[in-house]
């Protein structure tokens, strides 16, 4: 893949190259674990609806909490933290 068609993001502090157009939800899954957040009773949760409705895939993006990872496309240098 050419450099222009991929970009670099970090998930939980580790760097990752992803193709342009990849959603943040997908980047998190590619980084190794499908879990995005901890529920109010302490369960690990991953994406469910994939279309911005269920809010299960919330992560912190560039310091901003509660972002729906499935509705956000990765941008160069984005810092993603699961919670």
């Amino acid at each position: 893949m050419s450099v222009s068609a991929s970009l670099s993001v970090s998930v939980g502090g580790s760097n990752l190259r992803v193709p342009a157009g990849t959603t943040v939800a997908t980047a998190v899954a590619m980084a190794g674990s499908p879990a995005m957040r901890t529920s109010v009773s302490g369960e690990r949760r991953g994406a469910l609806c994939g279309m911005g409705i269920c809010f299960e895939c919330r992560v912190t993006i560039n310091g901003q909490p509660h972002q729906r990872s499935c509705q956000t496309v990765c941008a160069e240098g984005m810092e993603i933290e699961t919670t």
Partner: protein, 433 residues
């Protein structure tokens, strides 16, 4: 953080850039200018979802959605409409960084549908996803080559999803369709009268690839440690355990009527009521696509086309042709809903420990004690999280029956918004009144 409010005055505003919204946009631009808004990062809605410009380009080649690049269409993505006021002809919206106040002359709500999820033990494990949900992730770049996937739930969407997953290299272990064989066969016959070509092609390919298609089959438990490892499926009265990496499960579609309802549009059953011109009970507010009935992509295109043609003052003959086609797809909708009606066993899948409300982690055992939605909500907080009951409310409509378990009247914001957005827009609203 200080949120700036952007004010936009527009002619025709369309909420939702799926097939219905795109068809409406194209038709309306014959004589109007259009502002097309969507929460998604790009156009396409559910069926043509793709986060890249590539998807958009192939879209614009389609006849129905025509010249999307027209200077008369302004597009804005990543915009979530959270409230509307039909009397003032205004919408309020939030973006990643700001707030919008939009005025319209005419409005088309083409907000589509979401999947119906039914709680089964273990369904909160990571990698248990919607059928369309997993497909959306795959369209967003998720690599699934070599993954074992069970596709389950109900409806023709399962075939389309299995086809996409297989084409990306996944091993589809089985498709578990809850409807009985006789209903599915009857539907297959009705496809001869309503040739939904895409659907037929997907069905054919799944058959050719030898993907097992089980009728009378549905998931009863999801099992795994940190994430999904196995799914227990009830098939013709027997339990079958399937090892898999993902469960892609959806029991049909639920219309996204919240915005229309909040704006005061009258309902007809679960859907927004429209007249022959797709106009709702509110003046200048049209609805098109899955919000008025679940009937597939052709129905959405025709309804969007009708709304757009009415607004764009298209020739009467063109409008009449669209209306005839629309009537045909509405009959298709009826046969679809009949064939894939949910069986009563599905309302008893959850046990007392199963979480029903995933936002507030409220179990079936706690909800079950209450006699209606409002009471359950007050005592357990079910439906009070960020999804605002979109997931558990729809599930409870099946588990408890609709009476008393419908989400009560819809108020703004129809999506959770940042406090700064409300403050910025709210202050202005009081100024005006």
């Amino acid at each position: 953080m200080n949120t700036s409010v952007r004010h936009i005055e527009a002619d025709v505003v369309i909420v939702g850039a799926g097939p219905a919204g795109l068809a409406a946009a194209r038709a309306a631009t014959q004589s109007r200018s259009v502002l097309l808004l969507d929460d998604n990062p790009a156009a396409g809605g559910q069926i043509w979802r793709g986060a890249s410009e590539r998807a958009l380009q192939s879209l614009t080649r389609r006849r129905e959605t025509g010249p999307l690049a027209s200077p008369r269409i302004q597009r804005m993505f990543g915009v979530r409409i959270f409230a509307g006021d039909a009397a003032r002809r205004a919408l309020r919206a939030e973006t990643a960084t700001g707030a919008l106040q939009i005025r319209y002359r005419d409005l088309v709500l083409a907000t589509g549908a979401r999947e119906l999820f039914l709680p089964v033990p273990g369904w909160t494990l990571p990698n248990v996803m919607g059928a369309g949900g997993l497909q959306a992730m795959v369209k967003g770049g998720l690599p699934i080559a070599g993954k074992r996937i069970v596709v389950a739930g109900s409806g023709p969407l399962l075939l389309a999803v299995a086809d996409v997953l297989r084409s990306k290299g996944a091993k589809v272990v089985a498709i578990a369709e809850q409807a009985p064989a006789r209903a599915v066969n009857a539907f297959a016959w009705s496809l001869l009268q309503h040739p939904a070509k895409l659907l037929q092609a997907a069905a054919l390919r799944t058959m050719q690839w030898g993907i097992p298609y089980w009728t009378d089959a549905w998931p009863v438990a999801c099992i795994g440690n940190q994430q999904l490892e196995r799914v227990m499926v009830m098939r013709k009265g027997r339990r079958v355990e399937l090892e898999c990496d993902y469960l892609a499960c959806g029991f049909g579609l639920v219309p996204n009527t919240e915005l229309a309802q909040q704006m005061g549009c009258a309902m007809q059953g679960d859907f927004v009521k429209v007249n022959d011109a797709q106009l709702t009970s509110q003046p200048h507010v049209y609805c098109a696509g899955e919000v008025t009935g679940i009937g597939g992509v052709q129905k959405s295109l025709d309804e969007g086309g009708v709304a757009g043609s009415v607004l764009g003052a298209a020739p009467v003959t063109a409008l009449a042709a669209l209306q005839r086609s629309r009537a045909r797809w509405r009959r298709f909708e009826a046969s679809l809903n009949h064939a894939f009606a949910l069986r009563p066993e599905l309302s008893t899948l959850a046990d007392d420990e199963t979480i029903v409300c995933r936002c507030e982690d409220v179990t079936w055992g706690r909800i079950r004690a209450h006699s209606h939605w409002l009471e359950a909500k007050l005592h357990t907080r079910c439906g009070m999280g960020p999804c605002q009951g979109r997931i558990c409310g729809a599930a409870l409509g099946v588990m408890r029956g609709k009476t008393g378990w419908q989400v009560e009247s819809i108020r703004e914001p129809v999506f959770p918004v940042r406090a700064e957005t409300l403050a910025a827009l709210g202050a202005r609203r009081e100024e005006n009144s």
